[in-house]
């Protein structure tokens, strides 16, 4: 049982250490680094395919079992088959096929994002009532208002040098918080990577 748990940890550590060594040592391991990266890319693509297959199988079981919401599963499977078989028959680069894909995906995705604008408008009305007053919400509100006004572009159109300088300075202000965010996120991701290499974190599950 212990071997079963140890082997994946060893594989992860070995893969990580090899790539790190190749990156830092350079030339001696450069050829092998390309090969290992190739294996990783193929495996990542296969993992994505397996994930899609699992999704389809789950919905297929819903349809066959007549479970609640099986109609939606049926729609999903039909859409998947139409898209997948169409690509295999016509080719993924076929113009007509891509036109059909675009005709379905483009309205759906851009409408979803457009819907987000409508939902955000409603959310903005409630944000202070739900979150209350705090330094974070107050600075957020003022910042949002200031950047909305800047985004209007009307102040810039006035072409007043002093105003332009002030606007440029205001637009640089988020740099501070963003830098803090990036460093924080970077440190978190780095620590997570180290934990995986050291076997303290096992994202593949047990």
């Amino acid at each position: 049982m212990a071997v079963k748990k140890t082997v994946p940890v060893l594989v992860a550590a070995a893969a990580a250490l090899f790539i790190l060594a190749a990156l830092f040592l350079g030339e001696p391991l450069a050829g092998w680094l390309g090969i290992v990266l190739n294996w990783a890319v193929i495996t990542a693509s296969a993992a994505l395919l397996v994930a899609i297959a699992a999704l389809i199988l789950t919905h297929l079981r819903n349809v066959l079992g007549g479970k609640r919401g099986f109609l939606f599963s049926l729609i999903l499977i039909s859409a998947f088959l139409a898209s997948f078989i169409g690509a295999l028959v016509l080719g993924v680069d076929n113009g007509e096929y891509l036109r059909w894909v675009a005709a379905v995906q483009l309205p759906l995705e851009s409408s979803l994002l457009g819907l987000a604008a409508l939902v955000m408008t409603a959310a903005a009305l409630q944000i202070f009532r739900n979150r209350g007053w705090s330094l974070l919400t107050i600075s957020f509100g003022i910042s949002a208002l200031v950047f909305l006004v800047i985004a209007l572009g009307l102040l810039q159109a006035l072409n007043i040098p002093l105003l332009t300088a002030v606007l440029n300075y205001l637009q640089r202000l988020p740099l501070i918080g963003a830098r803090g965010l990036l460093i924080g996120i970077g440190l978190g991701a780095l620590l997570m990577g180290l934990r995986v290499v050291l076997g303290l974190e096992r994202p593949w599950g047990e």
Binding site: L20, T43, A46, V50, A79, S111, I176, V197
Partner: protein, 227 residues
């Protein structure tokens, strides 16, 4: 405008209306639209991965038996087979090995890339503002620059402070010293400013998409009317 354009246009309008029906609440049409989106995009993605990655990089080398490419392709083949066994509920554990390999590779790339791509440049850009060379180049102290550098330093440190102590307070629930509280407050201020800009940015993107959809609808209707 030919018949195909009209058909595709009507499909586009129908799908858009289904999505916007969410304004009335989560409903059947909205869900149908989402399931169609998931189905079509996953089908297309699967086809692209299969034809652009798996076939040329895994299957093609395996056809050239005896070559280096053949032998090198056996490793990903085994990994892919183990992954595909995950589709059988009893053999889910078979996938741990390829997933561990992927996790290790991803971790290594992150460990190598983050310090060089984000941490070091971002920290150095704060520290370098106090560099003696910079002062020499400016023929004396550029107090404006130093003030700005101090401002940025304070901001970055306070934001990091806020993150750290927010987490530690969550875990410990202890009362924080006034100094820590004060620095965290400054961090909140800067974070709020950044989040405000992010909010406006996301809203602008969403608004642009919404306007683009409306413009498309307007143009389609006009094209239909004018033939």
């Amino acid at each position: 405008m030919n018949a195909m354009d009209i058909v595709l246009g009507i499909i586009g309008i129908a799908l858009s209306v289904m999505i916007f029906s969410y304004l009335l609440g989560d409903n059947f049409f909205f869900r149908v639209a989402l399931y169609i989106l998931v189905g079509v995009s996953s089908g297309y993605a699967a086809a692209v991965l299969l034809t652009k990655v798996i076939l040329p990089r895994l299957i093609e080398p395996l056809k050239q038996s005896g070559t280096d490419a053949f032998w090198l392709a056996l490793v990903p083949l085994v990994l892919c087979l183990l992954l595909s066994l995950m589709l059988i509920p009893r053999l889910v554990k078979a996938g741990t090995l390829p997933l561990a390999f992927l996790a290790g590779a991803g971790a290594a790339v992150a460990i190598a890339g983050i310090p060089r791509g984000t941490l070091a440049p971002q920290l150095l850009s704060v520290v370098n503002r106090f560099s003696p060379e910079l002062l020499r180049e400016n023929a004396g102290a550029d107090w404006g620059g130093i003030l700005e550098a101090l401002f940025i330093l304070l901001g970055v440190v306070s934001v990091l402070f806020y993150f750290h102590h927010r987490l530690s307070r969550k875990s410990a629930g202890a009362q924080r010293p006034p100094l820590v509280e004060g620095i965290s407050s400054v961090g909140q201020l800067f974070l709020g400013i950044t989040l405000g800009m992010l909010f406006v940015g996301f809203y602008s993107a969403a608004l642009t998409a919404l306007i683009a959809r409306m413009v498309w609808l307007k143009e389609f209707i006009l094209a239909l009317l004018t033939g």
